[in-house]
Subunit: 254 residues, 2 copies
DNA sequence: CCTACCGATCGGTAGG
DNA sequence: CCTACCGATCGGTAGG
């Protein structure tokens, strides 16, 4: 009861939606921004809490009470920042898609061949997906979206897949990637990537960087037109098991 | 009302649980078997209907009414063959695990190297997973299981992973598989495999056999110690895009 | 941001 | 195998 005004009062004092942008921003603006920022942060923390619940229990297995409890508030408090449960799920998917496209664009920009672009994209995506910022929803609760939300998601995801595929095809043209079925290769790649949150444990034996590196290496080997260059000496294969394990341990320690 | 006795009457007539096995089996046995078989088949059809619902809507997104409707009966009719909703999910997982181990054992038996055993296992699993028999649950509704059901599932799945890993390690020893982190390789492999039901469409452009073949080839390339042997001519990489696409079309037609 | 509450859905059962 | 129903949970809102 004693905190209930902290937000609604601020909203009355600053009906900023009717103001022109950029005027008196130094004083009013910073105050407004910090308030908007607060709301945005709260909404964001709701989305992250929800994503974690959805990841472990699924959309229908998660109640709004669960999400609220994780944040230490009561359910009705959430409805100031989100419209309803479906909007929460939709926004979670939005966060993941934004992140996916961000890393894709970085890969496209920095890579110098199809394969290198793909490697950069995958590494960036994986590192953030399992990094300490917390893994948002990747999983398969799309069926719980409302029809028009699902439409938009599918269209974005198709676009993402097409651009991944374009990288594979570019790599086949520039000679960095072996001839293969690009569509199927991208599906396999998505599977390997999106499965990670199922088995990765934060604070476990593997760092996020290590996992991203190793998976990129594995995927690279499946697509690389010149595997010899990353494999080093061929004959090591015939060495004893223990020596191999030692090499792996060394890699693990990285 | 008029059909309600078809099963309970038969059960009263033949209290077979107290009979010794193997006596008078020729006459009584076949009658009993056909009745038991009927019940077993009905239970099985419930599990398959449920698996399809769970796959598309998740455990909590599926009601017992949904499952019943898919079978053309009413909800209470299901409870003659299954104890409750959790038992249904648990039994679905059981079917998938049984299938997984079946193909693993076939691969272990028939393969002549670590890599070949792995290839056979994966191919068999994938072909059945997406074959016309209908894909059961693979997905991630484990969180919906009851604690002791989850325990058993995890223990079986760990065992499966360990045996897959053993094949990878065997391949590293016998020189068929490149030195790599076996644990991580198996995770990536499971990801690529279990993602398939998410994108595969029955009756679409790809047959189950084609997808299984292509994925096995892709996975093989990632692990093979002698990739040259399956890649054929190296220099084809520098050919134009169209020519590659033509090659792919040819593969697709297979 | 909380208490209190409504309407709907759903798992499971009674009884036939 | 069906009709009818109970008890519990849950999304969302009223009102302050």
């Amino acid at each position: 009861m004693q905190h209930r005004q902290t937000i609604s009062k601020a909203e009355k004092v600053s009906p900023n939606s009717t103001k022109g942008a950029g005027r008196l921003v130094a004083t009013w603006g910073s105050a407004l921004q910090s308030q908007e920022e607060k709301n945005r942060l709260k909404r964001n923390s709701i989305l992250h809490a929800a994503a974690q619940c959805f990841n472990s229990s699924g959309f229908h297995g998660t109640s709004m009470d669960d999400i609220a409890e994780r944040l230490g508030v009561t359910k009705p408090a959430l409805y100031r920042y989100v419209k309803n449960k479906h909007e929460v799920l939709d926004a979670c998917f939005g966060l993941v898609m934004d992140m996916s496209f961000r890393h894709l664009e970085e890969g496209e920009r920095k890579g110098r061949s199809g394969l290198e672009k793909l490697r950069l994209t995958i590494h960036g995506y994986l590192a953030e997906l399992i990094g300490e910022f917390g893994h948002p929803v990747v999983i398969l609760e799309e069926g719980a979206l409302l029809p028009d939300q699902l439409c938009r998601l599918i269209s974005r995801r198709d676009q993402l897949e097409r651009r991944y595929r374009a990288l594979v095809e570019e790599g086949m043209r520039d000679g960095s990637i072996i001839p293969c079925n690009a569509k199927l290769a991208v599906f396999a790649l998505f599977g390997a990537m999106n499965w990670v949150p199922k088995w990765y444990r934060q604070g476990g034996e593997w760092s996020a960087e290590f996992v991203a590196d190793q998976l990129v290496q594995l995927i690279t080997r499946a697509l690389d037109a010149h595997p010899e260059s990353i494999r080093g000496d061929e004959e090591v294969v015939s060495v004893t098991c223990e020596s191999h394990l030692n090499r792996l341990e060394a890699n693990n320690a990285y």
